[in-house]
Amino acid sequence: MGVIDIMDAKGTSSLGNPNPNILTPHPSKSSVAIRFLRVLSLVRHTASSSPSSRACRIRRAACSCMAYSAGPRRAWSRALLRKLVRRRRKPPRRDLPRPAAIIRRRRPVGGDRLEVALRRVVPGGAGMEYCRLLEEAADYVKCLVMQVRLMQSIVDFESHVHSVNKRSEIDPGDRN
């Protein structure tokens, strides 16, 4: 039918979810790709100073694309965006209310070293229960993998294009 379906199928099948209820299905990869490409082209075409600042911006763009694609239901995506927004020093966006925060069953205790490390790694992981933290971590890993694949493919594509470009430069038969 479409790329989207294939990508969705691939997304869910590659994970082998026993519990599809926990990990919400992401919107298709193409939406993330489109968004990211847009941002990427935007970043590239605005006059930027140094590769490092551009790299920072691109990284933030990648994170924001990831977060957008994950949707507002994920705590980590909201936290990530909050962090990015704070860095951009823009007025903060509306946060969707977190129902989990209202009903706090357990206070997150920083006892286990591993748990603390996990909280540090996953964005927004500080204020969650352990159970929720694991959920968010799984979703975050999924999104990260998707994002990494996307960026890797872009890089490869562009490197390939670059090599092709070089070849076509050498070869004067330009097929423009």
Binding site: K10, I22, L37, I58, C131, L134, V141, V148
Partner: protein
Amino acid sequence: MEPPRSSGVGIDNSGEYSPEIAETLRFEEEIQSLIHPSSFDGSAAPTGGGSFTALLGLPANQAVELLHDSGAREPLASRIRVGGHPVHRPFHLPLDCSSAFPSNATLVDRAARFSVFAAEGSPASSSGRLKAEPQDSDSPPLDPIPTGPAKRKDTGRSKCDVRLSLSFKSQAKATAKKSKNAEENTDGDKLPYVHVRARRGQATDNHSLAERARREKINVRMKLLQELVPGCSKITGTALVLDEIINHVQTLQRQVEFLSMRLAAVNPRIDFSSLDSYLSAECGPVTVRNGPGGVVVDPSLWPTDATAEATRRLLVPQFWHIDLVPPQLQPQQSLTTWERDGAAHSQLLPNPTTSLFLYDPANSGNANVPHLTAKLKTAEDRALNL
């Protein structure tokens, strides 16, 4: 000092006892539920006690102590089991056991309540138990009144000591066999608990139930994470798995940074307009397939980022024609690298001959811009309907 009868936790002298005692009381009621079917009348108490010892694996003297209590409770139990008709048997209870009444009442209440939970098999008995509740609340108040509160305290405390040791012992010895026994018993009886199987030595306390449910949830999520992270399924032990997960996430984050550096470092000479020509040279007439119109105008998933999206859209309109070719143009070669990824392997090494977006620049040249915009609009409509 009447203990609250309708409360969930029947504590003799509230405030004196720790939650372990509440657990022990619940443990008692669990035992009680076990002896209910086995003990039909008061004479069956020894057999009930016998099954007790068999189940608990306790020395006989402690079981005998229990028997006192159970003996005290027996009439109540039998009374309940008769059904809706509370037969008022004479309470032949030694005076020292009378202090057990308040706890008995509460225990019975709780038993009734818990059996109400699991009352799918036999509504009759459950209704009987329900009816027994108010009866129980009526009858015991008569008895403990004559006993002085001090005496009740002492005997109650001794009894609670017994129960404490019992519970601790059984918790310590919560072997699979016992749990199986308990499960068999509860299965064989009449009303297996609906949601949770109360294991031996693990009380049916609300707290422990919730804790157990929570632990199950955590285990399920850990399994999920294990499956997500490659190479984690072989590792046993939560700590190592968590370590691996954290490592994996950090690796992925580092990869994102690295790739963004690479993307930034790519010579900006290669912008998308020139990419067109290269791709036309390289790949020939292929299209971007974006599915049934899902992507052109990616309607912001969130209501909040509309402004950012709008600005981006305004700034980069020309790239749309390049990036997004609507599906009708050429449906034949419609592979993207992701499809290839999914087909080939999990690691990403796209075939460089197929581009990320397979362009059809011949069609998406400038002549076709209005055509494309029209197509974009239709795709947008479809996307909004999605």
